[in-house]
Symmetry: C2
Subunit: 143 residues, 2 copies
């Protein structure tokens, strides 16, 4: 469905009501969702959404994922306060990945770091790039 | 394994040889890999890597994915010329997503657009944000 946009011009589009009906959810009913800070463009994390999580995120304007480990909706920041306001939803060319432009309150990572991608391969070592902004003990895990 | 970095200080780290042995590949032996333009921070695409693709990317300095649809290694740009030089590999807090900081030559998307994330939800429509930079007929699909 979304592939029809391949030949559309900038500003043209498709009805969301039709697109969401035909998103290529994986065998578990999920799509990967990248959260990117809307202004700095920092990639904060990747998590997963089912249809219910996606619809709730759009309705609430606050990001809700689906936790694969807990098997239920994961309202980002519900327990930690580190919410993600959803600024814009983007979809890739074949609709199997979501890009969330967000405004992250505080750290995105359960370790207290701004981004989950704080490990970098440098030479033969995977080094830590940043220190926690807040003590992770004050955050609930996966909050 | 990579979780041990949670309590490390900036600049401290773990041997890559140990980390790669314990990456949490999914049931298909794959991890999602986000490609981000290293300087503009634009998110270009998401694809998948198996261990072989990851090791080849690091060895060659050029990104190689694993194509799930074709069931084999996908040397990005091999047929289209739109290669991705790998500037840095990053891993998230639990090591189940890769972030590739790349230098993308030309468009990343098989449609000829710079980024695969050219669809944005605006109101009730999914609109196209950008036109192709090159005629996609001159690119091989998934090149």
């Amino acid at each position: 469905m979304i592939e029809h946009n391949e030949h559309a011009r900038p500003g043209e589009g498709l009805p969301w009501a039709d697109v969401i009906e035909q998103l290529p959810w994986n065998q578990d009913g999920l799509l990967p969702a990248i959260a990117q800070q809307h202004d700095t463009r920092e990639v904060l994390m990747l998590a997963w959404m089912n249809r219910e999580a996606l619809e709730e995120s759009l309705r609430a304007g606050r990001v809700c994922f689906y936790s694969r480990s807990r098997g239920k909706l994961w309202r980002k920041g519900e327990s930690s306060g580190q919410t993600q306001q959803l600024r814009e939803l983007r979809l890739d060319c074949d609709g199997d990945t979501l890009l969330l432009l967000v405004d992250q309150q505080g750290p995105a990572c359960h370790t207290g770091r701004r981004s989950c991608f704080y490990n970098a391969l440098r030479g033969a070592e995977v080094v830590v790039l940043e220190a926690p902004q807040v003590d992770p003990k004050t955050l609930y895990r996966n909050g």
